[in-house]
Structures are given as structure tokens and as C-alpha cells.
Symmetry: C2
Subunit: 304 residues, 2 copies
């Protein structure tokens, strides 16, 4: 693999995340005099805007032509669209291309893409834990990677030099903690930290019709429901692609909620104080994790 | 009533909120050359610290002596301690004193305090919608009132000039939106925006033991569980004092959650997209409410 500075990066999809990656590569002057940033998107207006502002070197309305020039390709599409793209364009990648993605679920797309991956290509599945409530390229500049988490679910077949390259790239654009794990472990954890939280936020808004309710807000309600401003088709896709793990998380959460409800209903003061004290301690221990800045491998690396 | 600048303010309890009010009064130079800030607290160290830093003019270990000098008294205690204090000290207030409180539940304390209130005193129940996860006087300087909500549940017997005085005071220390309503309406709304959110945060932490889970966090989980760092005895008291309204809110939320769970489990894509789109619209309309900056009366003013 070339040095990062000398690579030609190609983005398939220049929306919020694709745009944010391209901006970060340009801003951190990671791409040198030999390196280039290319992009394909269905929205020609976005490509022209990105070209004019100097974020990308060239936009393509034909992805096959772009792929031929790339060393590294970021697939920045929703999971379903990603699968469709890979099936259609698997033979357009030049030999040796390093491909990565940003899909919020991993088991399904990784299994499908591995099944059709050519021997002379490398694919390192990834999930940058960054985003915004508002989507699209126009929001990309406001999407910061500083201090954020990045999950990789490497394949056994990944070339070790490519994995080193990916991790260096991820750090250089601002991410702090890189965790390597299996697609299954990723999907279980993400069902909890991300999807369950979005379902909860949606349920909170679903059960309250009064638009004046924020007059009674002190910050908690606002914090818990900010993510209810969700991209409905994308989150539907994520929820359904990971429905087994997500349903399991919702059930677990429902049991804990029911336990607390019962204590409140029965006026069990001592039990409540004890439970809430344990919750406080547990959350405090979690906060401390944010101080870590190292790469750590959890779970078992995926079988290929 | 005197002008705000000329009043002697007394704080019963100089913890997070009492301290934050005293600091705001001093900082905004609301208290003039004639006005003073006094405080009573069980912690003598806190009183000395507040005196030395010039936040209060004088600390008292005997609340009766302090009350005798006050024009306006802020009761900044948990609901149970507030009730206990008012029962014990109702005859220590000089005639004409304006009393207010900050209790997070209103029906129970307002009913109890009204029952023992002397005819020559005025009591305007209040709830400043501000706070921090960490409590105590040492955190008070970090508790900002800028742009926050304030709820008042006035009594029919309140003197209109005192209500005008309270609202001017609240605005001058930074609060933006003042809402006047009944104790019942307050408790119903607060059960939803505040207590339910705290129960949800606690349940989320209760059902996840892995301290490494924040490696998989992208902001949602962190936002939803920040308030799980709660003061267990205080929140237990608030939950139990308002258990009827809170249980009703938990049940409502559980129904919405169950509805979404069912759609995910059954793979009902179209219904999910539709529901999540409505949620997004509804939340967007709520956010807009934050732009308001006026006083508004909702519900019916409490009977006295």
C-alpha cells in the first residue's frame, strides 16, 4: 500500500458522512501533492459544489470510471444501497483496492459483501461513531470526528498492512478510540448504545402530542429526544437489519424499566435509593472510559 | 414590597440551587447598597466559604434569627425537609415576608404549606428548571440559569405586586420562559419531561453492566444516560411524591415503546418509516418552542 499522502481516495456517496470524511482528509492536509479525492454521487449539484469548494478534486456521475482510479474506496451509503452497489460494481475495482464502509449494522452487509469479494481486493468493514441529526452534504462540515469512537470488524483475510493503514488514517482525521471486534459483537453493542436509544427517543415523542411541553423542560427531555429528529428511512433499515439484537435490547430495557416502575408504585423507598445509587456508580465508571485513547481489541476477530 | 435592590434575601439551604441563586443575585448586582443576602445551612463550612467569597453577607446557624431580617425567603430544600422546616419555623417569618421554594413536585408541598400559612405571609411556589448532575454548594457556580425555564404555581391569595416582583427577579437572574400553571398540571408535565426521563436513564444503565460499553457510543447513549448520575435520595423522594402522575407517564411511554417494538419485530417497514417521520416532525415543532421568550399562563391558576 502507498503512503496515505499519495493515495487516490474515492467516495461512493457524498452525503453527511462521505462529505465529512472528504472534508477531514482535505482539512488535515492528509492528501499530498500526488494524492487525490474523488467522489461519485447521484446528486450532480453536490459534486459540483464539492469540486468548487476544493473539497474533492473531481466528481463522477459514472462510478465505474471513478473506481478505476482509486487506491482506497469509502462506501458511504445506507446498508441496502451499499449491497446493491457492491453487487453491481465488484468488477470495476482495480486489483489491490482497499475498500471500507460506514454501515451502522455489520453482520448482514459483511456476510453479503464477503461472499462476492474478489481475491485481489481487500475490504475492512468500519463504523465511525459520529453523525448529526441533520443529514446531507450541506451538513458535513459541521460533523466533527474529534474524540469520537470508531469500530472496525476486520476479516481474517485482511492484509495486516491495510489494517495498519486504515487505523492510521482514522486517527489522523480525528477519531480517538478504535475498537476491533466481530460483526456479531458490533451489532449486539450497537443495538444497545445506538438503536435502542433512538427507539426510546422516538417512543418518548410518540407518546406526547403537546408542542408546548418544552416549557416544562430542564434539559433532560431535550437531551433524550434530540435524536428523535431521525432520518426515518435510514433508521428503519438499521432497525430491521438488526432486529434480532435490537428486540433483545428493548426487552432487557423493558425489564429494568418495569422493575423501577414496580418500586415506585409500591413506594419501596429503600430499594429505590439503593438501585439509583448503584446506577449512579455504574454510570460514573462508564464516563471514565472516555479518558482512554488507545486501540483495543474486544471480542474475537471475524471469521472470513 | 420594596424594590429588588433594597431587599434582604434569605436562603434556607445553600446547596446547588440555593448557592446558584445567591451567586446569580450577587453577580447580576441585583442586590444594591441597602440589600443583603443571608443564608442558613446545616453545613457551617459552606456558610463561611460563601461569606469569605462575598456571595452572602452573613451566614446563620440559627434559621429563626435569619428569618427575622428577611424580606424574601427562598426555601431551597428537598420536599420533605421543606415541609419539616415550614412547620417548625412558620412563626419566625416577619409579617409581609414573601416566601418561595424550588421543589420539583408541587401538589403535596403546596397543599401542606398553604394549610399552615399565616394570613400575613405570602408564598409563591416555584420550580426553576435548572440543575446539574453533581450537587452541593461547590457546584453552584457552574449552574447556569441563562435561557432556562421557570414554572410558578401561584396561589389565589398571592398579592399581585408580589407576583410581579417574583417574575422580575426570575428574569433578572437569567431565566427566559416563565410559565404559570396549577400544581396538578405542573406535576403531570414534570412527571413526563423530568421524572420519566430520569427513570429511563436509570433503566438503561440498570440493564447494562459492561463499563466498556462507551467504546460503542456515538453520543446518543451518553446523552440519554448523563442524568443517570442522579442524587438517589432526592430523586427517590421526587418519584414517590409524584408516583401517581409518574406511573401514568411510564405506562404511556411503555405503550409507545411496545408499539415500535412490535413494528420492528414484525418487519413492518412502511409503518415504521411513517411513525418515525411523524416523530421527527413532532420533535421539530417542539424545538421551535425554545425560541419563545415570553411569559405564558397555561392551565388554571391553583385554587387557594
Amino acid at each position: 500500500m502507498k503512503k496515505i499522502e499519495d493515495c487516490t481516495f474515492g467516495f461512493v456517496g457524498l452525503g453527511l458522512m462521505g462529505g465529512a470524511f472528504a472534508i477531514a482528509l482535505r482539512k488535515e492536509t492528509i492528501v499530498g501533492t500526488k494524492g487525490r479525492i474523488l467522489a461519485y454521487d447521484v446528486d450532480g449539484g453536490v459534486l459540483r459544489q464539492a469540486e468548487e469548494s476544493g473539497i474533492i478534486d473531481k466528481g463522477f456521475d459514472n462510478p465505474s470510471l471513478m473506481l478505476q482510479e482509486c487506491d482506497v474506496v469509502f462506501i458511504c451509503l445506507n446498508p441496502g444501497a451499499e449491497m446493491h452497489f457492491m453487487e453491481k460494481h465488484i468488477n470495476d475495482f482495480p486489483p489491490g483496492t482497499l475498500i471500507t464502509d460506514i454501515s451502522g449494522v455489520k453482520q448482514k452487509p459483511v456476510e453479503q459483501i464477503e461472499a462476492l469479494l474478489r481475491d485481489d481486493l481487500d475490504f475492512i468493514p468500519g463504523h465511525p461513531m459520529a453523525g448529526r441529526e441533520k443529514g446531507g452534504f450541506s451538513e458535513a462540515a459541521r460533523c466533527s470526528f474529534r474524540g469520537k469512537n470508531y469500530i472496525l470488524t476486520p476479516l481474517k483475510r485482511n492484509r495486516s498492512e491495510n489494517l495498519v493503514f486504515m487505523k492510521e488514517l482514522i486517527r489522523r482525521i480525528g477519531f480517538t478510540r478504535i475498537t476491533e471486534t466481530t460483526p456479531l459483537d458490533h451489532d449486539k453493542k450497537i443495538a444497545f448504545t445506538s438503536q435502542l436509544c433512538h427507539v426510546i427517543a422516538a417512543a418518548l415523542i410518540d407518546c406526547e402530542a403537546d408542542p408546548e411541553i418544552t416549557r416544562f423542560g430542564g434539559g433532560s427531555f431535550e437531551d433524550l429526544t434530540r435524536i428523535a429528529m431521525l432520518n426515518a428511512p435510514m433508521w428503519t433499515e438499521l432497525f430491521l437489519d438488526n432486529h434480532k439484537e435490537l428486540i433483545e435490547c428493548i426487552s432487557r430495557f423493558e425489564s429494568s424499566l418495569e422493575k423501577l416502575k414496580e418500586m415506585i408504585d409500591q413506594g419501596e423507598k429503600d430499594k429505590l435509593v439503593e438501585t439509583l445509587s448503584l446506577v449512579r456508580q455504574r454510570r460514573a465508571a462508564m464516563t471514565d472510559q472516555n479518558d482512554l485513547g488507545d486501540t483495543q481489541v474486544t471480542g474475537i476477530v471475524a471469521k472470513s
